[in-house]
């Protein structure tokens, strides 16, 4: 495996990066940790003559709580940084748990959240989590900025709603609050996960007021299963188990799985059900924890 020749650019602002991307249409691409990009180039699946390194752009870095309680994670934050962040651990323990299980430590040390989302690989754990959490992404270019839902951003397998000269700036997760819990569960047999399920549950007055369920890896592209979340709404204490049973059935029905090295479509549908039960249970526990 040899990597084709390329020129590396190291801009320090979004405008500069965006201009570089625009100067070489079709030949330039953003480059963060390179764990996906360089692999793709080595395998000859893509070739770019210009790599625009986004790691020196301050606007893309850092983890912080914003006014209003939104948690902002910069695009160039590595998996390892998220996993080790006290802020994340405190506010979104399920995300920390997720990050700890991404890939292996070498990939986590280099790979970034932004790279993970922009590559739109179907086996993205963070995408499942952020979909369930109702997160928003911000994109920026020399022209300005725009913000959209993760759901709208991830347009399909290996495909996002991002113009070639735009950068992903950051991801913002809605505030943690009493009565809200997140859960995540996954199974991996090889490097990429076989199935991952994320869930956000809001509990009000002892009953589930809102539930969002998202699945990745088992299906073509990370998806929000809206109907599945709805089956949980209204459930409380005693009938939670029945509601979970209904949600598991709904998830197995609604998710569109496919055959691959991890197993058949049938088996993955089965796994999605199991993982949903685990993710929803931990989300509910977190939501109802005093």
């Amino acid at each position: 495996m040899t990597i084709p020749r390329f020129e590396l650019h190291v801009p320090t602002s979004v405008a500069e990066a965006s201009e570089l991307l625009r100067r070489y249409p079709g030949e330039a691409v953003p480059y963060a940790g390179g764990t996906e990009l360089l692999q793709t180039m080595k395998l000859g699946l893509a070739s770019f003559e210009h790599l625009v390194d986004v790691k020196r752009i301050p606007a893309l870095a850092g983890i912080a709580v914003q006014p209003g309680g939104w948690l902002r994670i910069g695009a160039t934050t590595t998996h390892r940084e998220i996993e080790r962040s006290a802020l994340v651990g405190e506010r979104l323990p399920a995300l920390r748990l997720l990050e700890r299980q991404v890939a292996n430590v070498r990939v986590r040390n280099t790979g970034t959240l932004g790279g993970n989302l922009c590559f739109a690989e179907p086996h993205s754990d963070p995408a499942a989590f952020l979909l369930a959490a109702g997160a928003r992404v911000r994109l920026g270019s020399a022209e300005g900025e725009r913000e959209l839902d993760v759901d709208a951003f991830i347009a399909g397998p290996l495909f996002t709603d991002r113009a070639p000269d735009e950068l992903l700036l950051d991801v913002r997760v809605p505030p943690a609050r009493p009565g809200r819990g997140h859960g995540f569960a996954k199974l991996a047999f090889f490097e990429r996960p076989a199935a991952s399920v994320a869930c956000r549950i809001d509990v009000a007055e002892g009953a589930i007021a809102d539930a969002r369920v998202a699945v990745a890896s088992a299906c073509e592209s990370p998806v929000l299963l809206e109907r599945v979340g709805q089956t949980l709404v209204g459930a409380r204490g005693a009938d939670l188990d029945d509601a979970l049973g209904a949600a598991v059935e709904a998830a197995r029905h609604d998710v569109e799985t496919f055959d691959d090295v991890n197993g058949s479509a049938d088996y993955k549908r089965h796994l999605v059900g199991l993982l949903l039960r685990a993710a929803a249970t931990s989300a509910y526990e977190e939501a109802t924890r005093a």
């Binding site: 495996m1 040899t2 084709p4 199974l187 047999f189 090889f190 490097e191 197993g263 089965h270």
Partner: protein
């Protein structure tokens, strides 16, 4: 390490007082038997160690290969004009450019052109090579080569390849070569049968006729890749009328022989040098990319390096997938009456070493048992897939999965404890497994007891299942090897051997033997290996033979050196008496002691000179009988099964390294741990998958997963040292044994834990889940 030393002593303790004479039990001379640190450890962890990819030469060029996208096709034409004109390209080479090279190689069956010659037989087969000033240029030029193919019908499944109308890979049979290691001729009953081996004795019909219980089943062992961290890499240079190749090869002398044939050179004009090697596991045995690299250098008229990626390495060699259909007959007391089996190996597009794997699978299917009647037919079958060759275990993992699964299936049917059933059938020490074979050189019943005690046999936790399985391999290959021990005038020693250090620890163990035999400090022994122009012949580094057979050759060379030195001492230091008495590390004359260095200096009359001790090993004396030794496996396993996901959790593995005498117990244990983990990989996850078009679906480390540390269970390696091997101080080979029984042990343990019988490895979560569902619907 203290813990493991202790455990080993404990093992010895349990064995003390058993058969055997006191002399054999006296401790070997230090440092033999001590857990000294690896000789190559420091260089490897500091990065000082240089592998072929780290070497360079003046004017070195770099090569890349263009590979076939088709599983089976006629190569109609190749246009290299544009590639050759690309700036920086030195040469573009296809079969048509090599009229002066003997293209076809193969040590068993010569059927493998070093580059596709008019036809491609698997997707990924090299079709053209580009040599350029740098790799990026070579890669760019690949895209400029235009090949026209005419696709042919292809076959990827071995059973399908045996159908009457199946596409034929090799229109004419490959030439039989001397190193095929078996006597039968290829029976071209079907042109896709690469080789057919039969192991048979006794009256099978009679045996099955009077059986109380017959177990029958078909077991599938996966197509696996022997992942080594270093992919195949070679560097070749023609100079001074000869050819030098640096390569990551296990058997440099075998590679030399193939190169000499390809390029029409005398053996003495071919030099194969093997520097540090990043793992082999059989995948680097015999010839791989060396002839092609040399051919590229020949046309480039410059030194060339070819370094494959992991993805390309997977397309170069893999292990033989096996379908083993077997039935075994037992009498009412659980004695085996007969075993009848057919082994079909998916051996890929070229023979490579598969004929020998087929032969060995047939020999090993009986296991370490007394079997009155046996009939095994073993076929290596050509298919349009990457060629298969040696893989750690060599037919034994495939055969043992079937054989040892059946022992537990039979035990259940007979209502016998699975270990008791084994005890009733195990070969006794000294008993030959088949006519004219060497007597069995182990006490496996004692190994079973050790494993049972360590595992806590019969005391599995609720929801857990246990199993202990054994294996026997006729190992050691041919006892053909030589060694040179040089003692310098300062008394230090240079040891020269053709054995390759592939991570197994031979550089350490062989130096320990030389130091012990010469009575000198280990720090004063230096080891030079695997350079066919500098050290003397060794057949191969494989079949777990190095410690045992090279060890014997080193002992002989040391003996030769000491005998010469004693003679020299008498001649120069005491011509008129008294008689020279040999002591550890030198001689005593009267009350004066002279070390070896002093003897050398005295004989040459000044501080110069050296003595050269030579050791030869062949089929004679202690190594006359075949096989040179048996390699044993004995593995205990404790598992639990997640009933919802189908994920098997292996909680504990016990390995008994029945190595006769552990020259270095720490390294012997490490070999068992590594082998057992490798077995775990194939039992649980590893399988190369082909699609119907003949493309490898998961030929990369993302989708083909070898075990990680997080997959490794608690490991308990034990050594059994009964000094019952043919090697130095009773040593016999290890390093493969602990792999062979793993799949069967897991399948048997899962049956006890979950009531399902798995006959297809790897035991993927989905396969287990389906078996659980089937169980529940019964």
């Amino acid at each position: 390490m203290n813990a493991s030393r202790h455990r080993r002593d404990e093992t010895l303790e349990t064995l003390r007082g058993r058969d055997g004479d006191a002399a054999r039990r006296s401790p070997p001379p230090a440092p033999i038997g001590l857990p000294v640190a690896r000789a190559d450890g420091r260089a490897k962890v500091t990065g000082e160690a240089r592998y072929v990819a780290d070497l360079t030469l003046p004017g070195l060029c770099h090569a890349r290969l263009l590979r076939s996208p088709y599983a089976h096709a006629r190569v109609v034409s190749i246009d290299t004009t544009a590639a050759a004109a690309h700036p920086g390209v030195v040469a573009v080479v296809t079969a048509a450019d090599l009229p002066d090279v003997h293209l076809v190689y193969g040590h068993a069956v010569a059927d493998h052109p070093l580059i596709a010659d008019g036809k491609v037989r698997y997707a990924g087969e090299p079709v053209a090579g580009v040599v350029a000033e740098d790799l990026a240029t070579a890669t760019e030029a690949l895209a400029l080569i235009e090949v026209t193919y005419e696709p042919l019908p292809h076959v990827v499944d071995a059973a399908a390849a045996l159908a009457p109308e199946a596409p034929v890979l090799h229109a004419k049979a490959g030439e039989q070569r001397p190193h095929r290691g078996f006597e039968e001729d290829i029976a071209r009953a079907h042109p896709n049968v690469c080789s057919r081996s039969v192991q048979a004795w006794g009256d099978i019909e009679e045996a099955f006729g009077r059986a109380a219980v017959v177990v029958e089943g078909t077991y599938r062992y996966p197509m696996a890749y022997a992942y080594a961290m270093e992919p195949y890499t070679a560097m070749a240079s023609f100079e001074a009328g000869g050819l030098t190749v640096w390569t990551s090869a296990q058997h440099p002398y075998m590679v030399r022989d193939d190169l000499a044939r390809c390029f029409g050179l005398p053996l003495s004009a071919v030099r194969v040098v093997v520097p540090y090697v990043g793992g082999g596991y059989g995948s680097k045995s015999y010839t791989k990319i060396e002839p092609l690299t040399a051919a590229l250098a020949l046309r480039a008229r410059r030194p060339v390096r070819l370094a494959l990626s992991v993805e390309e390495a997977i397309l170069t060699t893999r292990g033989d997938a096996a379908t083993v259909s077997v039935r075994t007959a037992f009498d009412a007391e659980g004695r085996i009456l007969g075993r009848d089996a057919r082994i079909v190996l998916n051996s890929g597009a070229y023979a490579e070493n598969s004929p020998l794997v087929a032969r060995k699978a047939a020999n090993r299917l009986g296991g370490p048992y007394r079997i009155p009647a046996l009939r095994v037919e073993s076929l290596a079958v050509y298919t349009n897939t990457a060629p298969a060759s040696s893989f750690r275990g060599f037919g034994a993992p495939q055969a043992t999965f079937a054989g040892e699964s059946q022992m537990d299936e039979a035990a259940a049917r007979l209502g016998l404890d699975a270990l008791e059933l084994r005890r009733r059938n195990l070969l006794s020490p000294g008993e030959p497994p088949w006519a004219k074979a060497r007597g069995f050189d182990a006490d496996l019943a004692a190994d079973l007891d050790l494993a049972a005690r360590e595992l806590g046999w019969g005391a599995a936790a609720p929801g857990h299942g246990q199993a202990i399985c054994v294996s026997m391999s006729d190992a050691g290959s041919e006892p053909i090897t030589t060694a040179i021990v040089r003692v310098h005038h300062d008394g230090s020693v240079t040891l020269m051997c053709g054995s390759t250090e592939i991570g197994q620890g031979s550089a350490t163990v062989l130096a320990q033997i030389a130091a012990g035999e010469m009575g000198v400090d280990l720090a004063r022994v230096h080891f030079l290996n695997s350079d066919t122009a500098a050290v003397s012949y060794d057949r191969s580094t494989g079949a777990s033979r190095t410690t045992t057979l090279m060890g014997l050759a080193i002992q002989a060379a040391a003996r030769d050196a000491r005998a010469q030195l004693c003679g020299w001492a008498q001649e120069t230091l005491a011509p008129d008496g008294p008689a020279v008495v040999e002591e550890r590390g030198g001689v005593r004359i009267g009350d004066r002691v002279h070390d070896w260095g002093a003897v050398v200096r005295a004989w040459f009359g000044t501080a110069s000179g050296e003595v050269v001790g030579r050791g030869y090993l062949r089929r004679s004396g202690a190594t006359a009988e075949m096989p040179p030794f048996y390699e044993l496996g004995c593995v205990g396993i404790d598992v639990s099964v997640d009933e919802e996901t189908g994920v098997i959790r292996v909680d504990r593995m016990v390995t008994i390294g029945d190595v006769g005498c552990a020259i270095n117990p720490r390294l012997a244990e490490a070999q068992d741990v590594g082998a057992a983990i490798m077995g775990l990989g194939m039992a649980m996850r590893e399988e190369l998958l082909y699609d119907e078009a003949g493309n490898l679906l998961n030929g990369n480390l993302f989708d083909y997963r070898v075990p990680r540390f997080s997959d490794v269970p608690e490991m308990r390696p034990l050594l059994a040292e009964r000094r019952d091997g043919v090697g130095p101080y009773g040593a016999k080979g290890g390093g493969e044994g602990a792999l062979n029984p793993v799949a069967a042990a897991i399948a048997n343990a899962v049956e006890r834990a979950a009531g399902i019988r798995l006959r297809e490895a790897p035991f993927t979560p989905e396969r287990v889940w389906r078996a659980l569902r089937e169980r529940d619907s019964r």
